[in-house]
């Protein structure tokens, strides 16, 4: 008696032979790993772009037309921004070791400088970088002024830039207290008292900065919070606005370049 043939049990999907995909097999694989990696990168970028349409914005921001005569002076703004980024990154990591309490601040700074691995280097970057940022922002301001780049329609960008200068100086002022050595302490006393000499509002401003009538338990943490949260947030937001306006309005030609009318236009006018 012959038994009927039972159907074969279903093969798990993973064991089934896969059909060749288009572009694969028959010698159509990516030639070398480098090309494979590049294709992976392209497809990852495509994946993001398909979902965000970011590439248009990136192209708008980065591939702008710049006037003839653009030179190294035009990099001072980016240099200032990179100084800020350096301050932000080193500052975040300094905050991991720093203790903003009046009794421990100095010790924690000493620990960063003397004991922590690369502590003196990172603190040095932050300390000297602050001066670098101030120098660069004023050079950038001078460039804008002498090239006449603050004129219509870029006045608002000048105003934003001036606010950024003031905020940067406030970063310097509030950061100066944080090591809490003799120099920081007395410099802050003097700076807050200078604020107090403004008529009518000065005394209240000084009390606001100190968090009371005297340098007290919360003054240091107040300065710390202003230094690492309040002002950097404002600076980052304003840099965004500043860059948007730069991309939107374009950069100016240096003032020594004469405007040359397009020969086609001149022909059309004649």
């Amino acid at each position: 008696m012959r038994l009927p043939k039972l159907p074969a049990p279903p093969t798990p999907r993973i064991l089934q032979p896969r059909p060749a995909r288009p572009g694969e097999g028959n010698g159509k694989r990516p030639a070398d790993p480098l090309e494979a990696a590049r294709e992976a990168g392209v497809s990852a970028a495509d994946w993001i772009d398909e979902r965000t349409s970011l590439s248009g914005g990136v192209r708008w921001l980065l591939f702008r037309k710049v006037p003839r005569g653009t030179n190294w002076f035009y990099t001072l703004g980016s240099a200032t921004m990179f100084a800020f980024l350096s301050q932000a990154v080193t500052g975040v990591f300094l905050a991991m070791y720093y203790d903003p309490s009046p009794t421990h601040a100095y010790e924690s700074v000493r620990y960063i400088t003397n004991t922590a691995f690369l502590g003196a280097f990172v603190r040095g970057m932050h300390k000297w970088g602050s001066s670098v940022m101030i120098v660069l922002i004023f050079l950038h301001m001078g460039r804008t002024f002498y090239f006449g780049a603050y004129k219509y329609p870029r006045e608002l960008n000048w105003v934003i830039g001036v606010v950024l200068v003031v905020l940067t100086l406030m970063m310097g002022l509030t950061g100066y207290l944080l090591p809490l050595d003799q120099r920081s302490y007395w410099a802050t006393i003097v700076a807050v008292n200078l604020n107090g000499t403004g008529p009518l509002v000065g005394p209240y401003l000084a009390d606001f900065l100190r968090g009371g009538p005297d340098f007290g338990a919360t003054t240091l943490s107040r300065f710390y919070s202003i230094h690492m949260l309040l002002i950097p947030g404002a600076i980052a937001a304003l840099i965004g606005a500043h860059l948007y306006l730069v991309a939107k309005l374009g950069t100016t030609a240096p003032p020594w370049l004469k405007a040359e009318p397009d020969p086609e236009l001149r022909k059309a006018e004649a």
């Binding site: 009046p102 006393i189 000065g202 009390d207 009538p213 338990a217």
Partner: protein
């Protein structure tokens, strides 16, 4: 009830309905509606957003400015026996003005007994002993008493004060601040700080750099939380 004389009947005129929404091209409105549902809902959402934003902004702001309106009851600290302080020179005393913050809460105070032949300001219970603050009235550096010249001098910008703490040179704008003192059973106690104008008239404590003569006392108002001690 007397019948009212009947008014002559006017021809009935149809009241024109306001065309508020139609004139403004506001879509989705019933005829004659002045506040459409859309406008109402927009206003509601904006109000709700403002309330939500205010609900966290206002407490945070109050939290930040709160210390400005916080009063402190006067602290009196013992600084020594009444016999510790001569009337012709100053004795430096280190006192803690702000407790709990270590070294930076301390300050030096120069103290002496009141000397009626020098101190012409009226005597009362708070100045039997003179306590001079070391905070310079220019921008707040610490001054030092130099006994050879009987002067207080500031190392920062060259402020000079005489034996009573009255400015004699440099940029300071008023005499050195003082502290209230009182005597309790042969011990001298140091109280809160007060400021002086150049006639050594008492004012509630002000920050350095704030003149108190003439218009200065109005340009630099006192703190609502720190008043002069009565008497």
């Amino acid at each position: 009830m007397a019948r009212q004389p009947k008014e002559p009947k006017r021809p009935k005129r149809k009241e024109p309905k306001p065309k508020y929404t139609a004139e403004r091209n506001i879509p989705g409105a019933f005829e004659g509606e002045t506040v459409t549902r859309r406008r109402f809902m927009t206003g509601t959402v904006h109000t709700a957003g403002a309330v939500a934003a205010g609900a966290f902004t206002l407490p945070a702001l109050g939290f930040a400015v709160g210390p400005l309106f916080q009063g402190h009851p006067p602290r009196w600290v013992d600084v020594g026996a009444t016999t510790d302080f001569p009337a012709d020179t100053y004795v430096p005393k280190i006192v803690t003005l702000t407790p709990g913050i270590g070294e930076i809460g301390k300050t030096t105070v120069y103290m002496r007994k009141r000397n009626p032949s020098i101190d012409t300001e009226p005597a009362d219970q708070y100045n039997q002993f003179i306590a001079i603050s070391t905070r310079c009235m220019h921008v707040g550096c610490p001054v030092r008493y130099v006994s050879a010249t009987q002067r207080f001098v500031c190392p920062c910008h060259g402020g000079v004060y005489d034996f009573r703490g009255i400015r004699t040179g440099g940029p300071p704008v008023r005499p050195l601040d003082r502290f209230y003192t009182r005597v309790r059973v042969d011990r001298v106690q140091l109280g809160p700080r007060y400021s002086n104008n150049s006639a050594l008239h008492r004012f509630s404590p002000r920050d350095p750099g704030e003149p108190l003569d003439g218009i200065g006392q109005y340009l630099y108002p006192s703190r609502p939380t720190a008043r002069k001690l009565p008497g």
